[in-house]
């Protein structure tokens, strides 16, 4: 079972030159992903979604409040919390073959286990549909395949929590759907906790159990919506489900309402 990961009254203030107060990115956010839950966080571009996820990963400390992993505060990136970056190409190691990229999290293991672990990594590559590409280099693969390598590497780290930072926004629409389905399958099999940040409302509904909507600056939690669509989900039938469309309508109007002020100002 995946571990719970939550934000406990988290406030993030960035110091800005010439300002005593600084820039308040988040104000008092409290939100928790339950064990093995798929939680999505949506917000318009530039609202600091990635910052939120970086704090959850222990890559960036909150100014106030705590990040809690199974109720215990974290300060550094904890084992079992794996981050899937939007910039997969930059996250992969160009000088390593695909299989050696996937092996990276396991290289601290004793030498005599390496053979077995390598077999395990081959299996992960098979699970993400990359068998036969073990000895290729990441830069020889397409964008979608590179993100698959990153996903296989995340699996190798035995994720209790998987943090997804708009991981599908840089690939084409068809590849995006394939990757979404892949992540869902892996999530159902491995039962890790997943937190996805995205600006894509449909993606959030399609994948998540709950969707948290971020509101106006300084960003605060606006609403949390239970998705409640049946699983396993399907790219065609789920997306045509009237409940899906209703949720999409609701979430989209929430996000648009936030932006309407800007539009009027223009």
């Amino acid at each position: 079972m995946g571990e719970r990961l939550g934000f406990d009254h988290v406030t993030k203030i960035f110091e800005t030159p010439g300002s005593d107060t600084g820039f308040v990115a988040f104000d008092d956010i409290t939100l928790e992903a339950a064990s093995s839950e798929f939680l999505a966080i949506v917000g318009p571009s530039g609202c600091g979604k990635s910052t939120l996820l970086k704090m959850a990963a222990g890559l960036m400390p909150p100014t106030k409040g705590k990040i809690l992993l199974d109720g215990k505060p974290i300060f550094d990136p904890p084992p079992g919390v794996v981050y899937l970056f939007q910039q997969y190409a930059k996250s992969l190691f160009a000088w390593r073959t695909v299989i050696d990229n996937v092996m990276f999290p396991l290289e601290g293991a004793p030498r005599h286990q390496r053979g077995d672990l390598r077999e395990m990594c081959r299996d992960y590559l098979k699970q993400v549909g990359l068998d036969g590409f073990e000895d290729s280099y990441p830069w020889q693969l397409s964008g979608g395949m590179q993100q698959r390598v990153a996903i296989a590497r995340a699996l190798a780290a035995d994720p209790q929590v998987l943090l997804l930072d708009e991981p599908f926004s840089a690939v084409d629409a068809l590849t995006r759907m394939e990757l979404q389905t892949l992540v869902l399958q892996l999530w159902e099999r491995r039962k890790f906790t997943a937190i996805l940040v995205t600006h894509d409302v449909e993606e959030a509904i399609f994948l998540a159990d709950r969707v948290a909507v971020l509101g106006a600056k300084p960003t605060a939690l606006k609403e949390i919506i239970e998705v409640g669509l049946p699983r396993p989900r399907d790219q065609l039938t789920t997306r045509e489900d009237p409940r899906f469309l209703k949720l999409r309508h609701h979430l989209t109007s929430l996000l648009l309402a936030r932006n309407s002020g800007h539009v009027a100002a223009v």
Binding site: L59, V82, Y83, Q87, K90, F93, A94, Y137, W139
Partner: protein, 256 residues
């Protein structure tokens, strides 16, 4: 495939300009536009060069110079990469070393040759030090810039896998900065070669630089030019070798 034939065409075109210069030079000699004693024709020089190679006389000085150069260059590369990484990853070391590096870096290293003779005497130690001093700064600076310019995503990736500091440096920072490190080493290659020749001319006991000056003083002009050709071949050969190594080490360059 077409890319490869493009490469060949470019390198063939690249042979064109030296060929033109050599033809003009040859013609000038044949037509008596220049003093044949001061400037022998290329064909004559090449003939002397062939003799030098055939009787083996070229090899001892050439190997001597290459050995001095390689030792100095390797020392410079190791020092440059180590100090560069240290300065880029530790604020303390950066604070301590940056002023020193900035003071030493702009000094033309040739100006230090006479000083080094005072301290190290005339000999191999001086030559190696001169090469190392000339070559270390380009390597250091580009290593530093390479490491500082690494994408934060790469380092965040390492952190989320609980990679230790040492392992991050060895298995992520170094390979990721390799393209920049090699760019610095390429500049260092040229500089090091210039300095070893210069030092040999100023106070060498042997080597290509020593030969060139020695023959000039003995007024054996044609032999002197033959040795200059040796130098050209040496520089060209080292650069080609460098290209080869670079292509093997960073095949991903320009592709990520």
């Amino acid at each position: 495939m077409s890319q490869r034939s493009d490469v060949y065409r470019t390198s063939l075109l690249g042979l064109l300009s030296p060929a033109i210069v050599l033809s003009i030079w040859e013609t000038a000699g044949l037509l008596g536009w220049v003093n044949p004693i001061l400037l022998p024709r290329p064909s004559q020089i090449v003939w002397t060069l062939v003799e030098l190679v055939a009787n083996g006389a070229v090899f001892p000085p050439l190997l001597y110079t290459v050995a001095l150069f390689v030792v100095g260059y390797v020392i410079a590369s190791i020092l440059g990469v180590t100090i560069g990484v240290a300065m880029a990853t530790s604020e303390t070391l950066y604070g301590v070393l940056e002023p020193l590096v900035e003071i030493l870096r702009p000094i033309p290293k040739s100006a230090l040759v006479p000083v080094l003779f005072l301290f190290l005497g005339i000999g191999k130690a001086t030559m190696i030090t001169v090469v190392a001093l000339a070559a270390v700064f380009p390597v250091l600076i580009s290593t530093f810039q390479g490491v500082r310019g690494l994408d934060p995503v790469l380092l965040d990736t390492a952190r989320t896998f609980q990679t230790s500091r040492m392992r991050t440096i060895v298995s992520i920072v170094l390979p990721a900065s390799l393209p920049m490190i090699l760019a610095g080493m390429r500049v260092a290659l040229g500089l090091g070669l210039v300095l070893v020749i210069l030092a040999e001319m100023l106070a060498g006991e042997d080597g290509v630089g020593f030969r060139i000056l020695d023959l000039q003083r003995a007024f054996q002009i044609r032999d002197m030019f033959a040795w200059i050709f040796v130098l050209v071949a040496l520089g060209g050969g080292l650069m080609m070798l460098f290209d080869l190594v670079e292509r093997r080490l960073v095949p991903w360059r320009g592709k990520t």
